[in-house]
Subunit: 192 residues, 2 copies
DNA sequence: ACCTGAACACCGTTCAAGT
DNA sequence: ACCTGAACACCGTTCAAGT
């Protein structure tokens, strides 16, 4: 889990928690109990204080969810950085979605009304995709190619996590089929 | 809004609402206020009763959300039926997502813990896609092709609705680029 | 037979009072 | 300066009492 902030003030009584510990606890609760059960009470219990104390570190539940989304995107960007090519990158997205399905859904397909990460965090998570699709599609088509591959990967992973693939068949084969077709398609564009 | 059920019993006092009216009110509230604000109180107020009365028609909030998801898939299936080809179908998905973004997200990318429609409703919404992609990719590849196109369309629409396309560029052009590339890609498969 | 107010166990959030 | 219990306005849900 990425470090979000740190406090080291020396005060009469030492602090019993930190913004960092709160965000980490919220990330854990998100996966274990789902967004609806990510409550201020549950987070407080996990970090060892009472709910009202959380408001010394974070404005409220919505802001806490934003911080969780931003920590998730930071981690996703970190993993994406190590990708060797577009196929590898798509695979890393899928692996992340399976490890942390609730966080993945939170950042990639937040429902209307769900707090979302600030733009800079979303951009950070997409630069590697742009670089790698640019290698395939050429500079002029990098953005469209990135959108095509990202949309497909996000849709596939979301549907997989949501149990939308219920007609049988080999889901892993469908993934490989899809990546291959999409990468071919956006690579062809170079010849235009 | 599709009819979900109907009650016509003649009783001492005429019923003041119906399951149908409740589901319609819930669908409206979902779009206007978001899933988090789709409360039993709000639904009850809209149909003209108090919250406890709703429990005469529906087991609880989770079941009501399931019924909303199922009514949404029924409507989506109805619109899909009229599609002429895969490109047209993808366009109808996108139009539906823009008209009813919250319902679209609810059925296509429900977060962990969100109540979901029963299988039969999801299947009904995917038969047209299977038929049309089968025309392109051949019977043997219909399922994989349907998954590729559906995943891409769902991902694209979700990201568009969630405001994930913030790097500028022409989003409509990216849509047309994407459909064309994907349809080409899954059509090629026939030559295997 | 449906509808209701009251009640219960929860939420998020605020705030005066403790240390 | 942080932490807390109490309080407030909300939730979803149950149930006895009304009509």
């Amino acid at each position: 889990m990425a470090t979000v902030n740190s406090y080291t003030g020396s005060v009469p009584t030492p602090d019993r928690t930190s913004l960092d510990a709160i965000v980490v606890a919220a990330c854990e609760l998100l996966e274990e109990e789902g967004l609806a059960n990510l409550t201020m009470n549950a987070v407080a219990a996990r970090v060892g204080v009472r709910a009202p104390s959380l408001y010394k570190r974070v404005q409220g539940r919505d802001r806490l969810i934003e911080l969780v989304a931003e920590a998730t995107l930071t981690e996703l960007a970190r993993r994406a950085d190590a990708a060797e090519d577009a196929v590898d990158l798509a695979g890393r997205f899928r692996a992340f979605g399976r490890e942390r399905p609730a966080a993945f859904q939170l950042v990639m397909t937040p429902g209307p009304g769900t707090p979302t990460a600030r733009d800079e965090f979303r951009v950070a998570a997409s630069v590697t995709m742009l670089r790698l699709t640019g290698n395939l599609a050429g500079h002029d088509h990098a953005l469209e190619a990135a959108r095509t591959l990202t949309a497909w990967a996000v849709g596939f992973i979301s549907m997989e996590l949501g149990g939308s693939f219920r007609l049988g068949g080999d889901v892993d084969a469908a993934w490989r089929f899809g990546v291959e077709q999409i990468v071919d398609a956006i690579t062809v564009t170079r010849e235009d």
